[in-house]
């Protein structure tokens, strides 16, 4: 039951110091219950999308280890920008009553048919609950 909400902002940047504006950011719910959640945003001059509100589970599920449900909702993000390699991040975690910031480091396209450096196209956040 996803009856609470969290918020998400996506920031696209490059070289650690330049914003990537005009990047298209698509956000989709990864869990079945939120599979109809679908956003398409564009980053502004500072590389930020607008902050959107996303369904998340009840805050009670993160309050104690006895909770039987996963305390966050999972979303998949795809970012494309001209002259940069596209990027996908699977499993972005959204907690209720919490702001999340997803910073995406964009890498300029090398040209000459070369692909992105290893490990930079796709990130998968493991669906981890509190464990050690």
């Amino acid at each position: 039951m996803f009856n609470d909400f969290g918020r998400l902002t996506v920031r696209a940047q490059t070289g650690g110091a330049y914003p990537v504006s005009g990047a298209i950011v698509r956000i989709r719910g990864a869990d079945e219950e939120i599979s109809d959640v679908n956003y398409s945003l564009i980053t502004n001059l500072s590389g930020n999308t607008e902050t959107i509100t996303l369904p998340a589970p009840s805050i009670a599920y993160s309050a104690s280890p006895d909770a039987k449900e996963i305390p966050f909702a999972s979303y998949d993000i795809e970012i494309t920008a001209q002259d940069y390699y596209p990027k996908r991040i699977y499993g972005v975690e959204i907690f209720p009553r919490t702001d999340s910031i997803q910073i995406v480091s964009m890498i300029p396209i090398e040209g000459n048919g070369y692909g992105a450096p290893t490990g930079e196209l796709i990130a998968e956040i493991p669906n981890q609950e509190l464990e050690d």
Binding site: G15, N44, S46, I101, E110, P117, I125, L130
Partner: protein
């Protein structure tokens, strides 16, 4: 006085168990902690539980770095991402806003045993699936719900004999003064420094308005710039510069500055970007190595799995490791040796990063060095920008002629460059514009455009007052009493950190190899450094007292820094 461990600028994380063949990634220390905290705990927990956990995580990381736990065992990283060995880190995950703000505030705080120097290896576990000595995460939630503050929570788990270290140094300065909270109505040098930093950041983030003039008065313009900065970087947009905002300003400023610093550090005034001539590997020195190091360090700013090399022109283990990380990231054989294939690829990747920035002049915009040394006959957007900068500077310095901005480097532009070099004391008759000269011109332009005078850069940097040598370092015991170079009757009085910093600067400048690092006191390395440098400074080591030797080095360092300011360290 115990040596205070320093917060590292960057931490290198291995994305697997220590012996696994996984990639390493480098990131800033606060970003690392934000990631760990977001991976290990829930953001919905009470604030004191969050703070207690974050302090434990910071202490674990600092312990690994300070003790060199992995490095001394021959690994090329500081810590792993595995909770079985260290703590959870999930590369590229999302970060929670409240956790981010707490980390911005306390990333240079940690805990240690009373009387000890090293940060505590503050072991923790979840407390339900696993039990352990030390903090249990669910236990901390319960204690916070009972009303305990974060330090009491930590003492409950780690014992009463722990103490909290606040304000550990980070960045380039040997000491960190607690930054004052600034808001509208304040005036002074701190406000001016803030304004200058924001103006530099706004060159990359145009939504942040420029503050003109940056006169050290925190007025409505400054408030608006602060608010916009806070909005862009996910801070509470209250227009007040408290700890978290100050720290973010510093880190973003450093990131922005880094791109220029890389270009100016990597090349001296006479260097030219070299072409591939010969295979480079361990033991090589010189321009070819410097070029490779420069490329690697620039690329490292864009690709976290490429670990940056040093700038010393000497191909040692760090450079080899850096080359390997590049080869791994780009699918080349991981030999650690720069052959033709690797060099060509370095150049190709570097150029893609340079050319990707929309390279067009607009008023107030500082463009990075384009990646080619330009001289008479060159044409392009970089020449155009150069002409714009020099024309603007000519408005204040009338000895510089003005030219038609046509993007073609002809005799008129050459005359501009010559005049600029004369006015700002840059040696050499040449008019070719390489990276340091470019940065110097851009920084003077920026000063004038943002309304601060170039002299500010020199005075605002750490001022070395020769009359003042802080706290005691017993020359005989710490540095080896056997060595005749040191006058045993006159103990050196200098803070460890400052000594380290001076020696590192001078060793690098003169091209000597050193294992000296910030935040760690290495006795033998200090002896070696003093010995090497006394040769360079033309001092017969045995005929100078240590105090005088250090005074001389301080003066040398001061003049190097002054020159660097002119040559492009912004």
């Amino acid at each position: 006085m115990p040596l205070t461990p320093k917060i590292p600028n960057e931490i290198v994380v291995h994305l697997g168990a220590p012996d696994s063949a996984a990639q390493n990634v480098a990131l800033s220390f606060p970003d690392y902690i934000k990631n760990v905290a977001s991976s290990e705990i829930y953001p919905t927990w009470p604030e004191d539980a969050l703070r207690a956990n974050i302090l434990a995580q910071i202490s674990v990381a600092l312990n690994r770095v300070y003790t060199g736990y992995y490095r001394t065992r021959g690994y090329d990283f500081d810590i792993t991402n595995s909770p079985a060995y260290d703590q959870t880190f999930v590369y590229q995950r999302d970060i929670y806003g409240n956790i981010s703000r707490i980390v911005d505030e306390i990333f240079n705080n940690y805990i240690r045993r009373v009387g000890a120097i090293e940060p505590l290896f503050a072991q923790f576990c979840d407390g339900v699936e696993v039990q352990c000595p030390g903090l249990t995460q669910w236990g901390s939630v319960e204690l916070a719900n009972q009303g305990l503050d974060y330090f009491s929570i930590l003492r409950r788990f780690y014992g009463d004999d722990i103490e909290l270290v606040t304000n550990a140094p980070f960045g380039d300065s040997p000491v960190t003064a607690e930054p004052p909270t600034l808001s509208e109505g304040d005036t002074g040098a701190d406000v001016e420094l803030l304004q200058r930093r924001l103006n530099r950041i706004s060159s990359n983030y145009p939504a942040i308005p420029k503050i003109r003039p940056n006169d050290g008065y925190f007025g409505p313009q400054t408030t608006e710039a602060v608010r916009e900065f806070q909005r862009v970087f996910g801070l509470d947009p209250d227009g007040i510069v408290g700890r978290a905002t100050w720290n973010q300003v510093l880190f973003i400023y450093n990131a922005v500055k880094k791109l220029y610093e890389v270009t100016s550090e990597g090349l001296s005034i006479d260097d030219v970007l070299t072409d591939y001539t010969t295979e480079l590997s361990r033991g090589a020195v010189g321009d070819g190595v410097r070029t490779v190091q420069y490329y690697l360090s620039y690329i490292a700013l864009f690709v976290p799995s490429v670990i940056s090399a040093g700038f010393d022109g000497s191909y040692g283990p760090t450079t080899e490791s850096s080359v390997r990380s590049f080869q791994r990231a780009y699918g080349l054989p991981e030999t650690g040796v720069v052959n033709r294939q690797t060099f060509d690829r370095l150049e190709s990747v570097y150029r893609s990063m340079i050319s990707n920035i929309e390279y067009r002049f607009s008023p107030g915009r500082i463009l990075p060095f384009f990646g080619r040394v330009i001289g008479e006959g060159a044409e392009g957007d970089d020449v155009r920008a150069l002409q714009e900068y020099l024309n603007y500077i000519a408005q204040t310095y009338s000895e510089i002629p003005r030219v038609t901005v046509d993007g073609v480097y002809g005799p008129a532009t050459a005359e501009q460059v010559r005049a600029f070099k004369r006015i700002f004391g840059i040696p050499g008759d040449g008019v070719r514009v390489n990276a340091p000269l470019w940065n110097s011109i851009a920084s003077i332009y920026d000063d004038l455009y943002t309304g601060s005078s170039p002299a500010n850069y020199i005075s605002a940097h750490n001022s070395f007052d020769d009359a003042e040598l802080p706290s005691s370092l017993n020359g005989k015991n710490e540095l080896g009493g056997d060595d005749r170079a040191f006058d045993q009757d006159m103990p050196i009085t200098m803070d460890h950190n400052e000594l380290n910093e001076i020696l590192i600067c001078l060793m690098r400048h003169y091209g000597f190899h050193t294992n000296l690092r910030q935040g760690v006191f290495l006795q033998d390395e200090i002896k070696k450094a003093l010995s090497d440098l006394s040769l360079v400074l033309g001092i017969e080591a045995s005929s100078f007292s240590t105090t005088e030797l250090i005074k001389r080095m301080k003066a040398e360092r001061e003049s190097i820094l002054r020159a660097k300011k002119i040559f492009g360290e912004l």
